[in-house]
């Protein structure tokens, strides 16, 4: 299995898409360093990129890769290996190559300009988001045989989690603004990996936003060891569950 992963991984690393992605991240990070001298501000601007671009690139690249590897996967299925092994190899290869592109693209400029603790969280968050959205994209890829439909579903996941879901949360907050909503919103946030990642970063970077009673509530929650454990395990579940469902479907799927 490891050699299969390694070869697929090496193959993906050479695709133009991944090179572009790495280059794009490198360029934007360097550009931010040129434009601004304040470290916190750079990390915050990068956070926006991470929250938008990382999930988008992850879903698009993963679905395209899955369908362009379709025949290869088919050939692999004719070999004496377990289906699960092939599928997980694909997942791990795609996820690790995207993570690597991200770590290089964002990490290297920070190492060059000497990084702080916030950056480590930013890197960890980005890796988590990559894992989650690669996982979701694999799910959408096995849900349909049609490439464009699969990309559509994957983009819908992305659009839903980066925009529609927040609109829904805002609507709830607005409608029930007379009630204490701290715990409700906390639960709602857990159902969106992008929000979860964003809140974790806000607690480290933009503490001034978390003012008032509500801010203190979230700060106490996410700042505690329990909160860190909670948020990271929820993110972990977000990566595990879709790929598990996808694996189940793939196991029974006709190729």
């Amino acid at each position: 299995m490891t050699r299969v992963i390694r070869y697929i991984f090496n193959d993906i690393l050479r695709t133009r898409f991944i090179l572009f992605y790495t280059g794009f991240l490198l360029l934007s990070t360097f550009a931010l360093f040129q434009l601004d001298s304040d470290f916190g501000k750079i990390v915050l601007s990068l956070l926006n990129i991470v929250l938008m671009v990382v999930p988008l690139v992850s879903v698009v690249f993963t679905t395209i890769h899955f369908f362009s590897s379709y025949e290869f996967i088919e050939l692999m299925l004719a070999q004496p290996i377990n289906r699960k092994v092939i599928f997980l190899s694909e997942y791990l290869a795609v996820a690790s190559s995207l993570c690597m592109a991200y770590l290089i693209g964002v990490g290297i400029p920070f190492i060059m300009f000497s990084a702080g603790q916030n950056v480590i969280s930013l890197l960890v968050i980005g890796v988590f988001l990559t894992l989650v959205f690669v996982s979701l994209a694999f799910l959408s890829s096995v849900l349909t045989r049609d490439k464009s439909k699969a990309i559509g579903i994957a983009l819908l996941f992305w659009f839903y989690f980066s925009l529609i879901y927040d609109g829904f949360v805002l609507w709830i907050i607005y409608t029930f603004s007379d009630y204490p909503l701290e715990k409700v919103t906390l639960t709602l946030i857990a159902f969106n990996p992008v929000d979860l990642a964003r809140i974790i970063m806000l607690l480290q970077l933009d503490i001034s936003a978390l003012m008032g009673y509500t801010g203190a509530f979230y700060k106490n929650f996410f700042g505690s060891n329990m909160g860190v454990l909670f948020s990271s395990s929820i993110l972990f579940l977000w990566a595990i569950i879709p790929i598990y469902i996808a694996l189940r479907i793939f196991h029974k799927k006709d190729l």
């Binding site: 070869y7 090496n10 193959d11 379709y70 070999q79 006709d254």
Partner: protein, 244 residues
């Protein structure tokens, strides 16, 4: 060696394979013939396990293949379209395949030698022509001395010299007693390579006998003529049953 019993496969409402019964035995070479969309590829994929049957049974050496993968060690498969990870080198691909079947100690690199692939081991897949990719696919199928060979349109896209090399190889493998399943539109090729004829139409096995028998039945000497006659007979029969 491969026993197919009452195999059905449906994609939604569409029935692709309808109660297929076949007994494929070692030492024979089967030509799998039928028009486009008749279910040939689905049948092959069912045997390979990439398509899950709706009902019915496939046994390999007396063992049900459902949810099994180990039996595929016995199969060498050459797909119709060989598409590989674009940036993988030929050498890497062959190395990876060898790694999957580690237990095979001595590999059969005859085709690699004959196709002179070792010269281009460093080339990446996306730089290869369709024909070269076919050569790679063929080499991979024969690499592990598998007792069963499934070849999907093996000669399509190959240059005449390579076609002859491949044919020689297939004939050689047949002679050493392997079970060979070939689909092809080039019936003259099948005439040389196959001993048995399986004709599939609309998901059903319409004919299953030796090519010799077919030729006798249709009073033809060449397989392509024989098959055309067979098809005409079937069509005539169908239109009569429809009118009744």
């Amino acid at each position: 060696m491969i026993l197919i019993n009452e195999l059905c496969k449906k994609f939604g409402k569409l029935t692709v394979l309808d109660q297929v019964n076949l007994n494929l035995s070692a030492g024979k070479s089967y030509a799998l013939v039928g028009p486009n969309g008749s279910g040939k590829t689905t049948l092959i994929k069912s045997v390979l396990g990439t398509v899950r049957p709706s009902s019915g049974l496939i046994q390999f050496n007396g063992k049900d293949i459902a949810n099994e993968w180990k039996y595929r060690e016995q199969i060498g498969y050459m797909p119709q379209i060989g598409r590989y990870p674009e940036n993988m080198r030929i050498g890497e691909l062959i190395d990876m395949m060898k790694n999957i079947r580690k237990e095979v100690k001595t590999v059969d690199e005859e085709l690699i030698d004959d196709f002179k692939l070792y010269k281009i081991y460093d080339k990446r897949m996306h730089t290869l022509s369709g024909g070269t990719r076919q050569k790679v696919s063929a080499s991979l199928a024969f690499l592990f001395h598998a007792p069963v060979l499934i070849l999907d349109e093996p000669t399509a896209g190959l240059d005449p010299v390579s076609v002859e090399i491949l044919k020689e190889k297939i004939l050689h493998e047949r002679r050493v007693g392997k079970l060979i399943i070939i689909t092809s539109h080039i019936l003259s090729d099948l005439d040389e390579l196959s001993t048995e004829m399986v004709y599939i139409f609309e998901g059903k096995v319409q004919y299953n006998n030796s090519i010799e028998a077919l030729k006798e039945e249709t009073h033809e000497t060449r397989l392509n003529k024989a098959v055309t006659t067979l098809i005409k007979q079937k069509e005539l029969l169908n239109s009569i049953t429809e009118h009744l």
